[in-house]
């Protein structure tokens, strides 16, 4: 049996769906390969020429003796030590150059030019005490040029001026200053190396050398290849998040394509029922019919996969070009094509089509031969009761999982459970949708029916006549819109909740914390800010580590003026007003109000009376003492750990920032978090995430719309006689087109409306789970959701353009003569 009677043209939409899905998968894989290759090239710089490496443990250093030992090892040709120490660099305004709050590092020039971890981009390398080179990213952000003088802070926080003589290219985001070894030692008081790297003599196996190395305790030895691999892993961590995200979306695209294909085959099989029955009459066995249908689907799958790979190459190129917009900076590099994506695509294409076609194909084989002789072929459908029972069981499991997730306290596990429950309920929704889609379409079509009369009412009737088909068509859209709505609800809820928490807990403008690696902020900073009329609230927090009943806690002393103003904890028991000398605010869970709580800290033990229980704050501390109590108990704790600053009303934000910066010129090792810019950054980050979601799911939407076009085209073919009849009875061409347009619109909006409802529900539940004990503030991004529905509806109408034109073009007489 070579022919199944499926005309190639009718398989075009199936092919299109698979082309798009494969393109996404192949594109993601090619992009991921290319990005990895570019990153490996970049990270390999640090491991260039390295055959073996000995690394100190975190925080440890290797001594010159260790370097000598490596040099003396049999097979080692040359070896050099690499120093890397914290060396804070200040910008032109005297502010600390920091990456995520961490000051920069200094590295030594190195003795062996072949074993350097950087490349000189411009100028020369430092040779004297007063010279330095900086990395190109820092040069860009600070505006320092060759010949400029730059200031660094030495170990005792004294300013030292260095002349910039060169710019280097180096791996990583941390600001790096290259100085001579002697200078680095003088500035940082440090000797010793983070790494000792070595080359081996020609013909010697690096592994053998590695095994011969005398490795000091708390250090490790690796071959150059291992070193490169480890560096690469570090590099991949940057893009893993993005790649996983892309693969998830690719999976969604494949799923949606599966819906479209299953639906197409379902309709084709239904339309060919009589012919299939005829084939059975003349002796075709069930297996033969099944095999021929599956063979057809496999062919479409292979063809679609081949085109999909080509399109995927373009997708990968687009992703690589657009990756900056997705928040990942990649070094320049071309597309890398490995056989792996090709193989996966060629297998995936036919696999998806065959799996999607198998159910409709199997149904086709159940057509009794006698159906060929009947006028009307009875519709075959699953029994409603089976469907309802199955859906109810799946929904029950999904709901129980969701509830279990919501009751769980660990946010991560809770989220996984909620999402799993969501998937369960979504499946139940898909199962039940053929039974409810009719009513939904009727409800949605009520208004158009009133407004546009007969064409709209005919459209509603048509959309309702085959609920299974309508449900399957909308399901594809449901998936895409549901994910988009869920994503944007989560984003909006996270945004609002984080904002509320920030405002609630810290109604201030600036948070000052010690830069990474610093123990505290000099009291002079707090004193100067307190005396500045620009600020109407300066709350200084001092902290020590302590223990309560075996738990490590942070004991804090806080200006009494700050309680209830800069620091507004959520009180779970007791009253803030009862807080005073001799008492404490304690994180919930450490006792009862009025209890005497034993606290040991800084080598002292004492009792405090619990005035009130509050929600723990990681920033302030777990046990909060009255300032005089704190000073009496821990007199040696003079530095502040945190300063909360609020501008006086009417003060311009940039003026206020300048005053903060001015207070810090003498003490630059302080990180300033500008809450206004924190808010702006968070807003930008959330908009970016939404943008990514929208772009990627747009792909799934396109596939879903191909599905709508497809269903409508096939329905139009099926209804040729009907269309001719209503045309004869007085439906104009325009009205016939309108009928199909409204039908597409109804299907699209049914999918979109249910998708939005489901997405909002589970977006909210997932955020609720993610925030754990704190309540998430549900935010429904109404504008966005409305735009999703509108986009889906407009796109749905767009999907009807071709089928409706074909339907309207047909002449009444020939259409009646046809079927």
């Amino acid at each position: 049996m070579r022919r199944t009677g499926l005309r190639p043209r009718r398989l075009v939409p199936t092919g299109l769906a698979i082309v798009l899905a494969v393109a996404f998968v192949a594109g993601t894989m090619i992009f991921s390969d290319s990005a990895r290759s570019a990153l490996v090239d970049q990270f390999a710089r640090a491991a260039r020429n390295v055959d073996v490496v000995v690394s100190a443990a975190s925080g440890g250093r290797l001594t010159p003796a260790d370097l000598d030992a490596v040099r003396r090892t049999d097979g080692v040709a040359s070896a050099t030590g690499r120093m890397r120490e914290r060396l804070p660099l200040l910008d032109r305004d005297g502010r600390l150059v920091a990456t995520f709050g961490a000051p920069g590092y200094g590295i030594d020039v190195g003795d062996d030019p072949t074993l350097r971890s950087y490349d000189l981009s411009a100028g020369s390398l430092p040779t004297s005490d007063s010279e330095a080179a900086i990395d190109n990213k820092t040069a860009q952000t600070t505006g320092y040029r060759i010949g400029d003088s730059a200031t660094v802070l030495d170990a005792s926080e004294q300013r030292r001026t260095l002349r910039i003589v060169g710019i280097v290219a180096i791996t990583g985001d941390v600001s790096t200053t290259v100085v001579t070894r002697a200078t680095l030692t003088r500035l940082t008081d440090a000797t010793g190396y983070r790494n000792v790297v070595a080359t081996v003599s020609a013909g010697v196996d690096p592994e053998a050398v590695r095994d011969r190395l005398r490795v000091p305790a708390a250090a490790s030895a690796r071959t150059g290849d291992q070193f490169r691999q480890d560096l690469a892993q570090q590099a991949f961590a940057q893009i893993n998040g993005l790649t996983i995200g892309l693969y998830l979306f690719a999976a969604v695209a494949v799923l949606v394509a599966g819906f479209v294909i299953a639906n197409t085959f379902g309709i084709l099989v239904a339309q060919r029922q009589r012919e299939t029955a005829l084939l059975r009459c003349v002796g075709a066995r069930r297996g033969q019919i099944l095999r021929s249908l599956l063979a057809d689907s496999a062919l479409v799958g292979v063809a679609g996969a081949m085109l999909g790979i080509l399109l995927g190459y373009a997708v990968a190129w687009g992703l690589l070009e657009g990756s900056a917009a997705l928040g990942v900076r990649l070094p320049a590099g071309g597309l890398v094509l490995t056989p792996y994506p090709l193989l996966v695509s060629l297998l995936l294409g036919p696999l998806v089509t065959m799996v999607s076609a198998v159910v409709p194909a199997a149904r086709a084989t159940r057509v009794p031969p006698v159906a060929a002789l009947r006028m009307v072929v009875p519709a075959t459908g699953r029994s409603r009761r089976v469907l309802i029972v199955a859906a109810a069981l799946v929904a029950l499991a999904g709901t129980l999982t969701t509830v279990a997730g919501l009751r769980l306290d660990q946010p991560e596990a809770a989220m996984i459970l909620v999402v799993a429950g969501g998937i369960g309920n979504f499946l139940a929704l898909l199962l039940i949708s053929p039974l409810v889609i009719g009513r939904l379409v009727a409800a949605l079509g009520w208004l158009p029916g009133r407004l546009f009369g007969v064409p709209a009412r005919l459209a509603v009737a048509n959309a309702r006549r085959n609920p299974g088909r309508t449900a399957a068509t909308t399901a594809a859209l449901l998936v895409g819109v549901g994910l988009m709505a869920g994503g944007s609800t989560i984003a909006a809820t996270v945004d609002r909740t984080a904002e509320a928490q920030l405002n609630e807990a810290y109604p201030v403008d600036y948070l000052l914390t010690p830069a990474e690696g610093q123990r505290g902020i000099s009291p002079a900073v707090g004193a100067r800010l307190t005396g500045d009329p620009t600020f109407d609230l300066v709350a200084k927090v001092k902290q020590v580590d302590g223990r309560v009943a075996g738990d490590t806690v942070t004991v804090a002393g806080l200006d009494s003026a700050a309680i209830g103003t800069a620091y507004r904890p959520e009180v779970t028991a007791g009253r803030l007003a009862d807080f005073g000398p001799g008492s404490a605010l304690v994180a919930t869970g450490q006792g009862k109000v009025g209890d005497e709580l034993p606290v040991s800290a800084a080598g002292r033990k004492h009792q405090v009376r619990i005035a009130a229980l509050v929600e723990a704050s990681s920033l302030v501390g777990d046990v909060i003492l009255w300032p005089s109590d704190f000073a009496a108990l821990y007199p040696s704790q003079r530095d502040d750990s945190l300063i909360l600053v609020r501008s006086a009303p009417g003060v311009d934000t940039s003026a206020a920032r300048q005053r903060v910066d001015a207070a810090l010129t003498a003490h630059p090792l302080v990180q300033v978090d500008d809450l206004a810019s924190v808010r702006a950054e968070r807003g930008a980050a959330i908009r970016q995430i939404l943008g990514i979601i929208a772009v990627l799911l747009g792909f799934a939407l396109v596939i879903a719309l191909v599905g709508i076009t497809n269903t409508l085209s096939l329905s139009v073919l099926e209804r040729t006689r009907e269309s001719a009849l209503v045309r004869a009875l007085g439906l104009t061409r325009g009205q016939l087109r309108a009928t199909l347009l409204v039908e597409a619109l109804l299907m699209a909006s049914a999918g979109a409306v249910v998708g939005v409802a489901f997405g909002v529900l589970y977006g909210w539940l997932a955020s609720e789970a993610a925030f754990g004990p704190t309540d998430a503030l549900l935010t429904v991004p109404g504008g966005q959701l409305l735009s999703f529905v509108l986009i889906a509806a407009v796109a749905g109408a767009g999907a009807a353009v071709l089928p409706s034109r074909r339907a309207a073009r047909a002449s009444v007489v020939s259409a009646m003569a046809d079927a």
């Binding site: 009369g453 009875l729 439906l731 104009t732 325009g734 007489v813």
Partner: protein, 243 residues
Amino acid sequence: MTTTHAVRADELVKVYGEGETAVTAVDRVSVTFPAGQFTAIVGPSGSGKSTLMHLLAGLDTATSGSILIGGVELTGLADRDLTVLRRDRIGFVFQAFNLLPTLTAEQNILLPGELAGRRVERQRLAQVAADLGLADRLHHYPAQLSGGQQQRVACARALMSRPDVVFADEPTGSLDTRTGAGVLELLRRSVREWGQTVVMVTHDPVAAGYADRVVVLADGRIVDDLRAPTPDGVADRLQRLGA
């Protein structure tokens, strides 16, 4: 006296194809259908009787000639205007597939009126439904009706708006003899009792026997025009054409 003519065709020509392969389906046909008359168009298959009906009903466009329905010239009308004319002035009964499966009998009957945006005449609907024995079938879907009932619904739809003319295309073609007779009787009654104009295309002499007049078509031309025909007379005439 054009006003008494429901439909009038002059020198009507329909040619399919071009040049050597051109086929003339309707060849310079001039005919008038007076109002209040039941006319049957008969002829062997390929005689052009269906094409003639399609032209008269504005379903197809003529190559040349003119058609007047209720005083309106059809030739030269745009598709939209033709559609509106069909909706407002013509009733249709086809051989099969007369009804939209997604609509109930009542909705099917009311469809042309609704397309025209006319107010539903409840009284008229009740009268037509009662006359056609459909009163208890109005809320059934076509699939729940027998073939005869379906054709009666189609007749009700055609008669509902008192059109200038009802075109019936082999209305009994897929019915058994007894049911078919019922439908033909119904059409004849609509002419006798309500003054309706009916033009029916058929190849069945028995069906033609219900008409007041039979127009016989062969090779696209009118070859005979019988008044008060009998089934035997029509059969005889058709037989002679075949010979």
